[in-house]
């Protein structure tokens, strides 16, 4: 359907923006760029015919996670000027990182081709497309229970970690 170029562009964008997200001295800018990266990922998900996953990614990842990041950053006092200078990674070094990464990509591409990995014949017989919703509910009972458990742990995490200790214990 859509040609291959869109995919390539998107992938390139994702990689570049993730590099930038990492290398910014001020973390707030990093968090924002991370949000952008997750948006790009959700777009590519749409392209790879997984709409539901895309929506989820968009709403949860770019939304909730960025919010959490911003809140954590605001809760903790921003690093003062001196400290920022100390841990500000100069742009130049970032460029080195980029070049390094491009090299790695090239090398792995080459390696993939050269070793002429006998490509696994991708499954041709496409099953009748079960709708994701009942897929999750009928086939993935077990995982749902897993999700329930993990959500409860999340609940307790918040209870334990974020609640201020009323009685400041002696330590």
């Amino acid at each position: 359907m859509d040609s291959i170029y869109i995919h390539i562009i998107l992938l390139a964008l994702i990689i570049i923006s993730s590099i930038f997200a990492v290398s910014y001295a001020r973390v707030i800018r990093g968090a924002i760029i991370l949000g952008i990266v997750s948006m790009l990922v959700s777009i590519s998900l749409f392209l790879l015919s997984c709409p539901l996953a895309g929506i989820f990614e968009l709403s949860v990842c770019s939304g909730l996670i960025t919010v959490i990041f911003i809140s954590v950053i605001s809760l903790t006092l921003p690093p003062d000027e001196k400290q920022r200078k100390v841990n500000s990674v100069s742009m130049m070094k970032k460029m080195v990182l980029l070049v390094l990464l491009v090299l790695v990509c090239g090398f792995s591409l080459y390696m993939l081709d050269s070793k002429n990995i006998t490509f696994v014949p991708l499954m041709q017989n496409v099953q009748e497309s079960i709708d994701t919703r009942d897929n999750i509910w009928n086939l993935r009972h077990v995982d749902l229970i897993g999700q329930a458990l993990i959500l409860l742990t999340g609940l307790f995490a918040v209870v334990v970690l974020f609640k201020k200790d009323k009685n400041k214990d002696k330590k």
């Binding site: 040609s3 995919h7 390539i8 992938l11 994702i14 990689i15 590099i19 990492v22 973390v27 990093g30 991370l34 990266v37 997750s38 990922v41 590519s44 998900l45 790879l48 997984c50 996953a53 989820f56 990614e57 949860v60 990842c61 996670i65 959490i68 990041f69 954590v72 950053i73 903790t76 690093p79 400290q83 841990n87 990182l97 990464l101 790695v104 792995s108 993939l112 490509f119 991708l122 499954m123 017989n125 099953q127 497309s129 079960i130 709708d131 994701t132 897929n135 999750i136 993935r140 995982d143 897993g146 999700q147 993990i150 959500l151 742990t153 999340g154 995490a157 334990v160 970690l161 974020f162």
Partner: protein, 106 residues
Amino acid sequence: MSVENILLFKLYIIATPVLFLVGIYAIMTTRNIIATIIGIEIMTKGVTLLLASCGYFNGRPEMAQSFIIIMIVVEVVILTISAGLIFNIVKKHDSLDTRNIRNLKG
């Protein structure tokens, strides 16, 4: 499988390790704890991409979707826990520097 599909497939297969490397690099070199969390997030982004592409290429996108959805839920919880940890670490050390979480040695 058409030729360009295989090419595309190869692209996605490479995208994940690249993002993985970016994440690892971020965790190892940063001075700021929150950057480590960002590094982890980038690695998970890479894996979601891989999952989606696998689903797309082997003709079972809906299964891939369910995997991705469940994975996102799990990741969110892990992230909240890490945020809580960082919150407390910063409260204790009142500085975001990664050097002060190195004192468990030997």
